[in-house]
């Protein structure tokens, strides 16, 4: 299934092909869960746009369906998506893939300075809607 129009698909394919390093997308959850089925469809489509730089795995053991990423260059990044990554979440997943591949984040000096002062773990849950 295609999720993008031809022109957008081509542009995204080029963008993903130019990632500085490979990224693996991991989908967790039972194949009997409708969210997992749809998520696997979206993720396999995304990976098909740039199989040289992207791959995916499915882990069926987890109770809750979710998507996370891993790369060899950026092991410390910890971003998990709960829900089918369509709509705005599709864009967010692509951005996360770019960050995991090593593309530098863009933030101002003040923000960087404040972030550097954090010294203990913080977990942020962001509740969103896809539109």
């Amino acid at each position: 299934m295609s999720y993008l129009q031809n022109q957008d698909e081509h542009a995204l394919s080029q963008r993903l092909a130019s990632l500085p390093s490979a990224v693996e997308v991991v989908v967790e959850g039972s194949i009997e869960h409708p969210i997992v089925v749809e998520t696997l469809d979206v993720v396999s489509y995304l990976v098909s746009l740039s199989p040289e730089t992207l791959s995916y795995e499915h882990h069926s053991g987890a109770l809750d369906p979710k998507v996370w990423l891993q790369s060899q260059v950026f092991r410390s990044l910890d971003i998990t998506f709960w829900g089918v990554p369509t709509g705005l979440e599709f864009t967010a997943l692509v951005e996360a893939i770019e960050l995991y591949s090593g593309i530098a984040p863009q933030t101002d000096v003040t923000t960087r300075s404040l972030l550097e002062q954090i010294s203990s773990r913080i977990a942020a849950s962001i509740f969103v809607s896809p539109t």
Partner: protein
């Protein structure tokens, strides 16, 4: 667009600070989680420790300051 802006900002911060982990949750697909935490609008960001919550989109330095405050 507010959700996309908040997710973008949080991901940029997470890429700079490895002590920050993110869970991006589509509340319409996990309504029980939203009800459990009394999520009344999106985007809503909840931080642990502290269970502090932030509604809407904020400027990047404000979010970083909010994170810094949450750990104390």
């Amino acid at each position: 667009m507010a959700c996309a802006q908040m997710v973008h900002l949080a991901m940029q911060c997470a890429a700079l600070q490895p002590l920050l982990s993110l869970a991006i949750i589509q509340v319409d697909q996990f309504p029980e989680r939203g009800q459990e935490l009394n999520i009344l609008g999106v985007p809503t960001t909840i931080l642990e420790p502290g269970s502090q919550r932030l509604q809407g989109v904020v400027p990047a330095p404000y979010f970083a300051g909010y994170l810094l405050q949450a750990q104390t």
